[in-house]
Symmetry: D3
Subunit: 256 residues, 6 copies
């Protein structure tokens, strides 16, 4: 959601019955402490799940629950076992934020994680789930053994344009998590039929796969050293650009 709306959404979610909120401004609007767990970026920064969990355990205040994110590089079941073996009794929970492409039967994955934790004696470790949730899935996954849910999109009252920021390269090393393509990329757009092609950043430009025209790189710097460096257009100019682009659309282009 647009950040200007977030505090209102957090307030409405809290009023509607949710237990807590994660944004600083939202928590302030509600009058409670914000809550949250570690992001994928932490794991990727260490390029190793176990090191990341152990570092988190080492430096965080004791009252912060130890919730290990267990879906970055390997299978959820395997990473949950790794987390339990690494933090032992200090582990409070595991969070599964499984990418959509790996979620064939998520309830089944939850049951496997629960089984493997239990059979190793970790009955007290909670299972948290986030991503792609709605009221129907919460009911199904509760029955499968999930203890807590992090819900976002489904409780906003408006359609969202989903996007995510992901670390895919680290000082030249490819580091994409499961569900993401490794390495920096360039987007090449055809100015005629508007088709986009995504390539590794250093790959040379290609002709448009739809119409054969020359394509153009779309990524441009917007902010540099904290300063806006891109030219900002006026509404009238944007409108003219939009109407000109719409003029290029045809059924053929839309259907590819």
């Amino acid at each position: 959601m647009h950040p200007a709306l977030c505090p209102m959404l957090d307030r409405a979610a809290y009023i509607g019955g949710l237990d807590g909120v994660s944004s600083l401004k939202g928590a302030e609007a509600v009058g409670v402490e914000p809550k949250g767990t570690m992001p994928h970026a932490l794991i990727i920064a260490f390029e190793d799940q176990v090191k990341a969990w152990e570092a988190f355990d080492e430096v965080m205040a004791p009252e912060v629950p130890r919730i290990a994110l267990v879906d970055t590089y390997s299978d959820e079941k395997m990473e949950a076992i790794m987390a339990a073996e690494a933090l032992k009794d200090r582990l409070d929970g595991v969070r599964l934020d499984t990418p959509r492409s790996r979620k064939g039967d998520f309830a089944e994955i939850i049951r496997e994680v629960r089984w493997e934790l239990d059979i190793r004696g970790y009955q007290d470790v909670k299972i948290l789930v986030s991503g792609g949730l709605n009221e129907g899935r919460v009911r199904i996954l509760s029955e499968a053994g999930v203890d807590a849910f992090g819900v976002g999109t489904a409780v906003s009252d408006a359609p969202t344009l989903n996007f995510a920021m992901d670390i895919v390269e680290l000082e030249g090393r490819l580091t994409a998590k499961r569900g993401k393509l490794g390495g920096k990329k360039q987007v090449w757009r055809c100015p005629e039929c508007l088709a986009d092609t995504v390539l590794p950043f250093k790959a040379s430009s290609q002709k448009c796969p739809i119409c054969g025209n020359k394509t153009e790189p779309m990524l441009k710097p917007l902010v540099k050293d904290g300063e806006i460096v891109a030219e900002l257009l006026k509404p009238k100019e944007i409108r003219e650009y939009v109407l000109q682009q719409i003029g290029k659309l045809s059924l053929k282009n839309i259907s590819h």
Copy 2:
């Protein structure tokens, strides 16, 4: 939409290709002059369509188009004929904001209005339509003869809670337009099953038609002489109230 969002929506609508916007803040955000036509409140304030149209014609600057709103008290076809006969060649257009309950086949109503204007020699009078529009209806109504559209809800990117402010009583006289019930009302809510009953303001309270409990009046003063006079609750208090109300819901109550 929430007024804080309006300028953003107006800007997006203009950028997306619409010809103009009607709110002052939105027009300012876009950098154009705001546009609009007379409201039902003007007709109701005069309690007579013809007097309202003539007064508008008398006092407005000459560059403002004369667009008569023709659905307040009588049939659209009849009011369109009345407007043409009242303002004659000075009439630029008629606007139909027909209530949903009278819109059995709106394209047919448009064809009748166009036919009756044409057969009387008013081929130059434009037909404008507002209310309940989307991209499908705009296409159908264009073919039926509509010249311009006032679109609101359908171009916002979020679900809306539709409500309207209507004059239904004027110094004690009943004045509701078509589609609205005349006279001031009170809403009586049952504190047990949450059913609402709407009655004329002076009617005495009734027992709840669902469960027979005593009902309570819901209308309370929020603002008086420009001052907020209602008590504002904290998020935590609202949340407790919401959870308590949800506890009263049952399938029986929801289905009525």
Copy 3:
């Protein structure tokens, strides 16, 4: 229905449980008095609803109920208020025969009429409805407040070709009620593709909008001064004409 079948239909409807019938021959077949209310033609003959209701009230025998038809020129709600204010306590009921194009939510219109009559003290005025009824709609409209129904097509046991006779011009003055186009018309048919075009009677003929051929006027005198003046064809001749017309039909023509 074909007039030769009407008495049989009336008899069957009465036997099946309806309360009365409106045709003279049908009532005779059943052995009861025929019942009915004023037609739109009465209102149009006066070119004024109130004058028509008052004239009806003045000349009809006292035992005939005063049922005002309230949908001719203005909105049902407005005409119902006008009728109550004109006939006062002598008004027994209002009849709504609302045209399909104005019937977006007929139950809602009924609720408004009931509310406005009640809030003005006319709780005893009944609401009658006719037109477009079936067993489902009767149930819905009963709950919305209708007291009696005039049902026709739905109780005949055969598909009907609906048509109506309407006064649309009166000594040169345009007088169409809501839902009808004003003024006398001519129908122009294309002899090639059979497309029909309806125009004001005095408008000059047009080329066919489908295929561009010359069109021909279809209206011909059938009866003059009570005498059949049109030539009557034999079954064999009609059959040949039908087969010849069918030969002109093509998917292209049918789909327009």
Copy 4:
């Protein structure tokens, strides 16, 4: 259809393009000779298909086509072979009026009849079909080899109550054709729940299978020696009887 309507229906069917009509009054209304073929009653009167076809061939004028009805007692394919072998080159066609319960794939039956006639050298014998036809089935059966169709119900413009008169007993001998139950019957109706039970005429009455009440025989003489002997009720009396019977209906009774 009601006999009073038949001439009108025949005229409309002829005008609409059919080749001929079978009723005397209809043919008179159209101005052509009526056409038709032998009924099942002829076969049943002889209690033998071959004797019936031979008798027809013997006494009918030479210009009357020899069309044998081939579905009374045995399979259509078998009776078609029998008819060809009996009348030889004098056979003009066979008519199939197959009962619905034997019509699993009628096009397949037609193809078999055509094959068996052809392989025996009767390529000139036509196949006629009657019963249960509509525009879709005519197209399918034409492709399967049918040369002519006798269409009734589907070209009337009204719903019909189908019934048929069949000879099921002949001087005490059981003679029902395929699709009919042999022997005279009595209908026993329960006066409480209106359930009907059909039994051989001489079987003693039974208790109602639904509610256990005593049942009553329904068959009563209406006409004797050409005189109406049954009491005729007035519309008002019939209406009272209908409303009383409707009062006995309940969901339980309707659903059996």
Copy 5:
């Protein structure tokens, strides 16, 4: 089913609750006596139903039930009456193996057979049904009066390619039962578009009805005097033939 699988299927069917099996090997696998009734081939060998039933009755051991197959040449109802009149009290049951094309409402046919047997005093004669059965049809037909069922395809656990061996010619005489075309045939295949045409065996070859090419006869001797006389291809050769045929398939060919 493939004969190698039959004993396994029979064993599974018996274990699953069926009362008996008909194949010799299957009965052996189960350890019970095989059961069955006369085939159509018996009736066709006699070219007369009654003679066949009487011969069966004459030569079979007394403990074998007399079950007459009653659908070969005439209608089931008629043949059931014929069987009862031929074998009288010795008749134990009738079997209906009605062809699909004659099974418009099989439950209705059963009710007619039951009625005609009962009204003639044969209440003890059982009705057996075989062919096209599944669990749904067994339930429906049980209610219609069937006493026993012979189920095959529906209890095998695999899709089947249905085919049947039928006697259609006997020493030069055409003898096809209902549902089969009389006489020996040849299949002519088009080598280009793979369309098959079935003709009487002695008819001369035709051009392909789809593409006009010359067609080729497909029937070749496989076994003569108990010896395999056809050339057997190797898997590799068959595979090449299949791939070559697939290459000839096109949407046009498939859709005919």
Copy 6:
């Protein structure tokens, strides 16, 4: 499929156009060399993917392609990268036999594997897929980048009871691959309502979760040291057991 049928199925699949078969008997029936790749059991025996791939590479004849199975413990993308880094240029392909519960968007997973191999310079490594394939999925996955498919169930002509043998414990160590629960289990069945409960082998028995009755362990030794040690029942005894179990079934039991 039943092993007795396998050679027939392999032969039919090969004749129908597949490139090869994997069973020894099937390959013999067809007359070709059998083909196949490593199983999960190999990886699990090593308890380490990389060691298993390296051992395979070390001991297999040089003409055997090096196809690494890459879905046992970690994510397909991660294991594919590990395999490429372990075997380098000797790696011919990777096989994905992804469990259903991890296959949210398998085409997306394929695209990621292809991207990560390509960006690291392994454009020549093929992608093979097995499990859950049919003609529709083969088309979709081909477009996503799969080079070869291992198809089983979908080309057999019969419904299959899918089951798999998996190593879940190795000398007391839990070793289940993704999609399987770790450790030896016992199945406890309720003799009353037939509900099954699966528990770790050493867990003590539980009451039936449906009806509260005592449950019984179902696993019994069938074969010991190559000898059948279980008692084999006769068809009649099995049939009695089946009918007795069916008698215990009720809608309540079936629906859990």
